[in-house]
Symmetry: C2
Subunit: 521 residues, 2 copies
């Protein structure tokens, strides 16, 4: 069977049984099974112990001396009650290190989020590493249609790809913003699609009370949960960004606090572009990011002690000639590794991203993404956001890039399998059997193992030049184009109880009648 | 200045001074200066101490129980005299672990090779990491002309690129085989070009007595050295491959022994494709590679105790469906990391490669190469062969891929600069100065550092989509195409004393008259 030919691959799978409750896979390609990768390698640590302490001290001094603006009266009031120094004439909150560290210490180092299909539960923290689809680009892009403003069709397509690929563990924000849906009810349509077209962990945007409450309610309904059951453990998450430098804005804080009260997990991700919204030095940008991140995490731990949270690192640099943001750079790698050291210092799970600046799914996109991903692996990142599909600094969700990224994510998952070095693996006897005048294709040692010995790709083309030329010399992104078309053409949504589906539909209809969410927040 | 426009970049450099004796740079792009990267990060180590011992034990058992064929009477005779068990009825040599380890222990863990320009000296071993251009493909490829059989023009073009880029530290084998030059005198023309168009460390193919002796003599002449000076320290190197499984062939051994006698360095690189010429298990393929490598290194240490050698790891896997070799795979990464542990166990410098299987300089080529390169970084590889230009499993030297690879090599070099985490770097005061309502573009902390703070690319395009589209939406390999054309158009060879150049030319002329090397070895 030729792995490059999805039609063949599909035929090869037809009639095969389906395992467990991990359905909803189309018949497209031969992909790796669902698994949560475990990254047990030692991380790369550019900082010595003294430097970790110095960056910690810097972050604490930022919080103590300069403080962070909390643009949310409720948050300020909670922090004031908790003993923080809240400036009555501004939004500035200063907090001392004893308070911050006392709160941060309450956060678990590892937690599990259980979506409507419990077989898709994900563990965040420790040695676990999970991947999230691209989130929030305003545009989609395909080889066929070029760059286009996002709409419901591209949203659904990318949601289907996110469900299809077993290497995508969580559904992030909208994989593209469907601007043809009215902003006041968009979240209802999008969440209905997410909860019916996927069975993986869902995300809520922190964009106003109604959206957040609606999403929590829909996740509760989809899981067939009582309110108490929903509140008892993480079923979903939100991700909030600070407005760097040193600001947390109203809706982000509001949404995070709403989830916190119901025990739902929150990732706090300052977006600190070194040289623009953060110092031009990587150590400084990381210190600022830590300060911004811990400030919000401390607030959330006051509200709900022990709340599952993750610290998100998104420190990259800008091009100092043009101010353009850069991704997958040496600076991003080092910033992420430093952030990994700091996250372990605080005992917090770490989020980072698979980002690139390229405008096309070309070689630049691939090496920037590979650098980003190896940054994540070498930093022991727990949650890789934007793991598949991101282009143009996050302004494009590319169908082809999505497929290409999944190939590299699968390879990384394979890479993380523990090495086995038994006597049999070392194969002295097989080597003796083959000797200097044979080869290993036919020997028993090979025959017993060859089917699962190596990672088997679905995009990578290992044919020789002649066979490849004969086939039209398809470049990687052209092969990816054929693959996503095949996947979408054959997509089957995961099973969902009809009654639950109806309840979700009724909820959406009712909330639409009520007008959805205000759009002037 | 727009970094994507080489014409602009060139203008920006015109009239600038030239530093030191590192000349021979054309005015093409704005590239990083010549430096030997130092990789001081902790390596990734998939093996525990017990597994290192088990693979060592496996390698020793292979040498003791099965042995290796040495297809060279002189080598067998030397090994017999040294006490090895040489089968009189075959080429099989068995050696016990005490002998092997006693010989391997004599090899230095670090050494320096000094080419004709001493400012281009390279240190091999320790934390040093050096890059070698692609070596030995039969074909070249450009966007303009597609894949073509190598000739003197493409050979020279690729030699010029190898000289031009400061991130290429050694000149490897022929970057493409110039088949329009007669095989008997090809080495004379090629070495004349290498020694006049470049001033970096040169390589000799181990392909028969005459070729090896001619190259040593030409390197001696180019360096202006007496025979004694040449013999006193490494001035060049050869790389030999075993014929896996378990064979060292005549010309490779002959060449290596000739260099050894004159104190010139040798890299020994078994090419052990797991599942084909080596066991389907990575631990087994590594054990076999170690056995093959140490067998030749032991021979060389008998001939010249303390000879500078490197162990070369080239364990990758094949596609078990088609038998096609694969590169830049998870298996390659782990094999290289294991080889790094074994090389450190033996105190030997390590060589590996930047390989890929892709037939085009596309996304697949980029991620396979990035995976290969991060394998090298995480394994603490000292010499990265094929670091720039390799495509199609080594059958193509691509001009565009060469340029793309150099961008990633420069990034890696930048990445390896040690992190600085001073008080000033942590920037608490700058963050206080900017506060929550400013940005860092204009502050003093940024102004003092911005020019050198970040890696500045020459291929990566960080323009926004609109500006990029306006410019014709050039993909990475198309930008690379413009860059190599600019570099070649402006190439200036490095300075060379006229008398030495004449002596080299005379030597080539004389040896051509004598008929060069026999072609029927």
């Amino acid at each position: 069977m030729n792995a490059q030919d999805p039609t063949q691959a599909r035929r090869g799978r037809r009639g095969g049984g389906r395992a467990g409750n991990l359905r909803g896979q189309s018949r497209g390609i031969s992909q790796s099974p669902w698994t949560i990768p475990v990254n047990s390698d030692r991380p790369t640590e550019p900082l010595d112990a003294e430097s970790v302490e110095a960056i910690h001290n810097g972050a604490m001094r930022i919080l103590e001396e300069t403080g962070v603006d909390f643009l949310n009266e409720e948050a300020k009031s909670i922090l004031k009650t908790a003993g923080c120094d809240v400036d009555p004439s501004s939004d500035r909150v200063r907090m001392d290190r004893a308070f911050v560290m006392g709160q941060v210490k309450k956060a678990p180092s590892e937690f599990t989020i259980v979506p409507r299909n419990p077989d898709r539960a994900v563990t965040i923290g420790g040695d676990h590493m999970v991947f999230v689809n691209v989130s929030s680009p305003p545009n989609s892009m395909t080889l066929d249609d070029g760059r286009q403003v996002g709409n419901q069709k591209s949203f659904r397509d990318l949601i289907k790809l996110s469900q299809y690929f077993n290497c995508i563990h969580l559904i992030g924000g909208y994989p593209v913003e469907p601007v043809d849906l009215h902003a006041s009810t968009r979240h209802l349509d999008c969440l209905f699609d997410k909860l019916t077209l996927t069975d993986k962990v869902c995300h809520a945007y922190s964009l106003g009370k109604e959206r957040v409450e609606d999403v929590m309610e829909m996740v509760r309904i989809a899981g067939g949960l009582s309110h108490d059951e929903f509140d008892a453990a993480p079923r979903m998450y939100t991700n909030i960004n600070s407005s760097s430098p040193l600001k947390h804005d109203y809706p982000m804080l509001d949404g995070a606090m709403r989830l916190a009260r119901r025990g739902q997990s929150v990732m706090v991700t300052p977006f600190t572009l070194s040289g623009a919204m953060a110092p031009v030095t990587i150590a400084g940008a990381v210190a600022q990011s830590i300060a911004e991140g811990l400030a919000a995490i401390a607030l959330l731990q006051v509200i709900k002690p022990g709340l599952p949270v993750a610290y998100g690192s998104f420190t990259s640099n800008v091009d100092m000639k043009s101010g353009a943001p850069a991704f997958g750079t040496p600076e991003y790698m080092r910033a992420t590794q430093m952030s990994g050291q700091m996250a372990r210092h605080y005992g917090l799970p770490l989020r980072a991203s698979n980002a690139c600046a390229s405008n096309a799914p070309d070689a630049q996109a691939a090496w920037e993404s590979a650098f980003s991903l190896w940054a994540c692996v070498s930093s022991k990142v727990n949650v890789v956001y934007h793991a598949a599909g991101w282009l143009e600094g996050g302004l494009i969700a590319s169908y082809e890039k999505f497929v290409l990224d999944c190939e590299t994510l699968q390879q990384m998952t394979h890479y993380m399998r523990p090495a086995t070095v038994t006597e049999d693996d070392i194969a002295v006897d097989a080597i003796k059997e083959v000797g200097p005048h044979g080869h290993f294709f036919g020997c028993n040692h090979t025959q017993e193992r060859y089917e699962t010995a190596f990672y088997s790709p679905f995009v990578s083309d290992w044919r020789n030049f002649e066979a490849w030329t004969e086939a039209g010399a398809p470049q990687a992104h052209e092969r990816a184009n054929r693959i996503w078309k095949d996947i979408l053409a054959n997509f089957e949504p995961p099973p969902l109880d009809e009654a639950i589906r109806d309840e979700l539909a009724d909820f959406v209809a009712r909330r639409k009648t009520e007008g959805g969410a205000p759009t002037d927040f």
